[in-house]
């Protein structure tokens, strides 16, 4: 009888609304954040997001660390595409210290950053599939992400929180194994990716489920500070790589895909096309990879080779100075933005000439666009709200900093 009474609950029939806690540890939220929903039956009347569950005080931490030690903090923002965060930070310091990075290092960065974008979008798009009930594509695409992580390992030794590259360039040149893995990836990935497309892009069930779910207009998206694929799904072609090119993005030929409705299907399709464009960029960067040094000649900021540290006095001195944060840095304020997986990732850095930043603010695209979520799901079904959240690619690390 108890079961029966559970099914015949009359919350909404009485005109009363039910309160539903979605999160903080609900498997469908893909991260630790809570939404207190007011439900009328299965319809959402209002939502109140609560965030901060994995807040780690990055901005305060950054005020207490030398510049090179801040890179591992940036790993933990959007941990689905850590290399973009790392390199965005390096470029910010290089802008402050007026370091010119050699062309080869810039192209190497582009290759790594675009691999990171592919892995970021693969996770997001395949998870949209999972939330619509299609687990298969996810299992295939995670194998491809694994191959990207193996390439990270060849470059920096780590996989998720990469700490890749250094201020002034890359930490080491691409190894022979990296070249081999990249060539294999570029050869095999497109076919597997198109197989994944065939499972979803024109799938009737998937389209019925995602078209019209969680839409937002271009005007509202801009007012809410949207950037990245979520903005482009609304039809606005804003991309930092084109608007303010960094790391030689102006050398490459690629298009910015845009959607029209700003709904879940458009967000999915924009990311799918961006993966293809990223592949184009990687091909161009790899085929035209310039010869030359892989880091700038800046002994004040770039750690000397380990062999030299053990055998040469000067190298040992520079090593010590960099590790202890005793290098001169200009005074000034700098804002630098890169196109991260989720949009404009900005670093606002104030330097007073000291060994740590005086102030470092991260513009985290997730944090800014997630506040539109209640508006986007109002009046929709609970199942659409979960789909909308996964298609926005809200990453808790980036959200909470």
């Amino acid at each position: 009888m108890e079961v029966q009474s559970y099914f015949s609950t009359t919350d909404s029939l009485d005109g009363e609304l039910a309160t539903l806690n979605l999160g903080p540890t609900h498997p469908a939220t893909h991260g630790i954040f809570q939404n207190v929903l007011k439900m009328n039956g299965e319809r959402i009347v209002s939502a109140e997001p609560t965030i901060g569950y994995i807040h780690r005080a990055f901005e305060k931490l950054a005020e207490h660390r030398p510049f090179n030690q801040i890179t591992p903090i940036t790993d933990r923002l959007n941990y689905c595409s850590s290399p973009i965060n790392n390199m965005g930070w390096h470029m910010t310091v290089e802008k402050l210290a007026k370091i010119e990075v050699p062309k080869r290092a810039q192209y190497m960065r582009v290759i790594i950053m675009e691999l990171a974008r592919i892995s970021d979008h693969l996770v997001c798009d395949s998870v949209i599939g999972v939330d619509t009930g299609a687990l298969t594509g996810f299992t295939y695409m995670f194998q491809e992400r694994e191959r990207i992580y193996e390439m990270y390992e060849e470059v920096c030794g780590t996989r998720l929180t990469t700490n890749i590259g250094r201020i002034g360039g890359m930490e080491r040149d691409f190894s022979p194994a990296f070249h081999q893995k990249l060539k294999t990836f570029l050869r095999d990935f497109p076919a597997k990716f198109e197989e994944f497309n065939k499972l979803l892009e024109r799938n009737r069930i998937f389209m019925d489920r995602t078209i019209g779910a969680g839409p937002i207009s271009a005007e509202r998206a801009m007012a809410y500070g949207f950037t990245g694929p979520n903005l482009r799904a609304c039809g606005v072609d804003y991309d930092v790589r084109v608007m303010q090119p960094y790391s030689s993005y102006e050398d490459f030929d690629f298009i910015i895909p845009v959607g029209g409705q700003g709904d879940t299907y458009d967000r999915f399709m924009v990311r799918q096309e961006e993966i293809r464009q990223s592949l184009r960029i990687i091909h161009q960067a790899y085929d035209n990879l310039p010869q030359g040094p892989y880091h700038a000649d800046v002994p004040d900021y770039y750690l000397p080779a380990k062999d030299d540290v053990y055998t040469k006095m000067e190298a040992l001195i520079y090593h010590f100075k960099i590790v202890m944060g005793e290098v001169p840095i200009p005074k000034g304020e700098v804002y630098h933005a890169v196109e991260a997986g989720n949009g404009e990732l900005g670093f606002y850095l104030v330097s007073d000439g000291g060994r740590q930043p005086y102030r470092l603010h991260f513009r985290r695209p997730c944090f800014i666009y997630y506040q539109a979520y209640p508006e986007m799901i109002k009046g929709s079904m609970l199942s659409d709200a979960i789909l909308t959240m996964s298609s926005m690619n809200v990453i808790a690390g980036e959200l909470d900093a």
Binding site: K60, P330, Y335, V350, G354, F367, I368, D400
Partner: protein, 175 residues
Amino acid sequence: MTNELLHARIEQQRPDILLHSEHAYDGMLTVEVSRDRILDFLQFLRDDDDLQFHFLTTLFGIHFPENPGRELGVIYQLHNWRSNLRIRVKVFIPIEDPHVPTATSLWPAANWMERETFDFFGVLFDGHPHLTRILNVEDMDVFPLRKEYRLEDGTRTDKDDRFFGRDGHEGREFD
């Protein structure tokens, strides 16, 4: 549109509003206005036909304890996507009276950015619809990004920051 034209347009349309203006280290036009006129100024930047700074990129706080009467700052960065120009607007306020009008009426994006600034610096945004802490716990009674709060417990003796290159916020002069 360039920084010079932008500056000239502001001077022409809103004379005397700029307390200070400079080209910052990164080349962005950086201006300071008083808090009484900040909302009017932001609206002017957004709605003026020539300027069209329609996108609020960032809004955050900063703390300068050595500047009496203007300890706390709120920094807005706006972006005009048509002519691809950015501007940085600063407001400085005394720490005993940390009130600034809210920008949520201009951009809904300002909502959480202002809550974050309140959470970290204690800036009170007058007229904000829901000014509560956002990243820290609700019952916290300090504003942790203010400079007087150390990162670690100041009574600890096992870690002398001076030996680890971490002497708090005071920057070192290099010669």
